[in-house]
Amino acid sequence: MNERPIRILLVEDNAGDARLTREALKQIKVPVAVHVAVNGIQALDFLYRRGEYKESPRPDLVLLDLNLPKKDGREVLEDIKGHPSLRSIPVVVLSTSTSPTDINRSYELHANSYISKPMDLEGFLEVVQGIEKYWLTVVKYPQELNA
């Protein structure tokens, strides 16, 4: 594993959820750098390094909420997975929705995994820790554009 922190782009409009996720991610041994985008447009600006994000790094992992202002999470997902230079970035959908349609559609759009956010704090922390344990310590990321 590289020495530099694992870069996570968290796309989440709910400030409370964003803070909780950051807190939960801080508690692990693996160093992470979390960037937050609060809507779909901002997420894509970050990924395409547009405007104020000109210097932003390529994330190793994207945690994506589905229901977002300005541009929906489904559209963001479709954009990432349809773009050759972004496609290989793993996208974990993290949504309160448990609708089979949302789950199925997300996998069709090539979400790397779909996780439904528990409403209670304990469950929420458990899920975030489950993601980090798996995605940050077990899974291998594309290294190509890390420089």
Partner: protein, 153 residues
Amino acid sequence: MTQSQKTESGLLQVLLVEDNPGDVRLTQEAFKDAKVQLAMHVATDGVDAMQFLRREGKYLDMPRPDLILLDLNLPRKDGRDVLAEIKSDSSLMTIPVVILTTSASDVDIESSYMLHANCYISKPVDMEGFLKVVRSIDTFWLSVVKLPPRGAL
């Protein structure tokens, strides 16, 4: 679909595509401790795997897997070809595919994600490491993740 769901009685169906018998046995052993009840099916080469998924030949009555664990280096049909076929077939593409291989090559990792592998894991060569990795797959995919709903297609 409804009927097969009933007969499967809630068991999670996992398809392991692996040609090395030792690795097959170890993976099966590791999954036995799983918290989730599952049925593991094994295909030992790429052609076999595609027949299983398309329910051809001897696989006519096989269930649709909820999760696929796929080795990359396989006889007859390579794992990369299997992955590409699954992810471009509208009736199979939503099934999560976990690449589980000894290769840690950046080229293999990048190209697997480009072909829409759901994640890439390189198999540790030591037994303890291997068991740990298999258990983490079990914990994550079978209890944290929402898998595609059955019968949605």
